[in-house]
């Protein structure tokens, strides 16, 4: 007997050019897979290519993108004199555009400290060590607003995280986690996002689980989601004990998953359902 071809076995054929404040930005949503995925995937796709037409449309114009509100809030926070001595992010860094490119290369091992740093870790270091403030909760609106603002500065740039040198052990750890079948449903990231991407799991069209779109405005939650918050949801759905945001495990996993998207564009703030 022959199996019927699945209805949505492939991503939709579409192109993303975002109309933003400073004119159109072309977004690469399909690229040859990075060399480390040789024999595993030939082509990588943004999650945008797996969403329906209405959801895709919301990301074409910043005017329609509900995530832009958070970027504006992040800008207000950036300029606010919140530090113990009245400093703002702006007083040391100037405009947020000074952080252009950072989103595309994080997580990364910091040259000076040798620590694996996500964007959140960098923000947290400035808050606690340079501004005399308490940490923001990792999944707070303060944090996601700031992620949105910083991520926007790299919109259209190719994801390009390093996987060699000092990053290698973290990358290996993340890869191991990606292929581990967790929980009572015994499912790995790879089962859903590598083996069966393009298929329907009930009403959900499975993407490759790329992180180039993060932070994501999720229509279901009416809020912004960081990559690690998404990971929590995906692991929980396997009836497993999740890891916590900012745990060594999720940091390593974020690096590894980001590396699977090397070559896709940073979307700034994306829209998913």
């Amino acid at each position: 007997f022959a199996l019927a071809l699945p209805l949505h076995a492939t991503p939709v054929d579409d192109q993303l050019v975002i109309e933003g404040e400073n004119g159109p930005v072309e977004i690469v949503t399909e690229a040859p897979a990075p060399v480390h995925l040789k024999g595993v995937l030939e082509t990588i796709y943004s999650g945008w290519r797996f969403r329906n037409a209405e959801t895709r449309a919301l990301e074409r114009d910043d005017f329609d993108n509900p995530g832009m509100v958070f970027v504006d809030r992040g800008r207000d926070k950036w300029n606010a004199a919140i530090g113990a001595k009245g400093e703002s992010c702006a007083s040391c860094h100037g405009g947020p555009e000074s952080l252009k490119g950072l989103r595309a290369v994080t997580p990364r091992v910091d040259e000076k400290t040798g620590a694996l740093m996500t964007l959140e870790n960098y923000i947290d270091t400035c808050l606690t060590q340079r501004m005399g403030l308490e940490s923001w909760n990792w999944t707070s609106t303060d944090m996601s607003d700031m992620l949105a603002l910083i991520s926007m500065q790299s919109r259209g740039m190719a994801v390009n995280v390093a996987i060699d040198g000092p990053a290698a052990p973290y990358w290996e750890q993340g890869k191991e986690i990606y292929y581990t079948r967790y929980g009572q449903l015994e499912m790995a990231c790879a089962n859903c996002h590598e083996q069966y991407f393009g298929h329907m799991i009930r009403a959900d069209h499975l993407s490759q689980g790329q992180t180039n779109g993060f932070p994501v405005y999720r229509l279901k939650d009416a809020g912004l989601l960081s990559a690690q918050k998404r990971f929590v949801g995906c692991v929980r759905d396997t009836r497993a004990e999740t890891f916590k945001p900012n745990s060594p495990e999720f940091k390593a996993l974020e690096l590894y998953v980001a590396s699977r998207g090397n070559g896709l564009s940073v979307e700034g703030v994306s829209v998913r359902h």
Partner: protein, 157 residues
């Protein structure tokens, strides 16, 4: 505790306690993936089976399988093959084995093992994200496996 609540608890406990003739998950005998003996000793109820197959927190078979005999199910998945005609392709014993723990039939299958209690990595307490201690209750009870089987056995070409 009110009398009514005490009664409800007693009923719930009775439902959770395995029937005498029930085969526990660790005692199931797989032969090339197939399980010849009924897990309960009584035939399953196909209508109850449909409920299990279409309920998210239970079997949720339709998350991955199309079943044309259930046209009212919205958005069936297409990860596994359609179950149409499954009973013409497999014997009853083979189907019981596939539903209880498909990994004995399809090595490394993505299909979850529904009648299994331990050997998990970071098992969670259902969908809470919190840790759970093994042995866990199996995802489906013996009776639910037999109910699902009873329905799948009706799917002939």
């Amino acid at each position: 505790m009110t009398r009514r609540r005490a009664l409800a608890v007693a009923v719930a406990l009775a439902a959770a306690a395995p029937a005498l003739s029930e085969t526990m998950p660790e005692a199931v005998q797989y032969e090339k993936g197939a399980v010849a003996a009924s897990l309960t000793g009584t035939p399953g109820n196909p209508e109850a089976g449909v409920k299990v197959m279409t309920t998210n927190a239970l079997g949720n078979c339709v998350a991955c399988h199309l079943v044309s005999a259930l046209p009212d199910v919205p958005f069936p998945g297409d990860i596994g093959p359609a179950l149409d005609g499954a009973a013409s392709r497999y014997s009853e014993a083979q189907l019981r084995g596939i539903i209880a723990n498909s990994k004995h039939t399809f090595e490394g299958s993505f299909m979850p093992a529904f009648y299994k209690t331990e050997g998990y990595i970071r098992p969670g307490d259902a969908y809470s994200g919190k840790a759970a201690t093994e042995p866990l209750p199996p995802i489906l009870t013996a009776a639910q496996i037999e109910d699902v089987l009873a329905f799948v056995l009706t799917l002939k070409d």
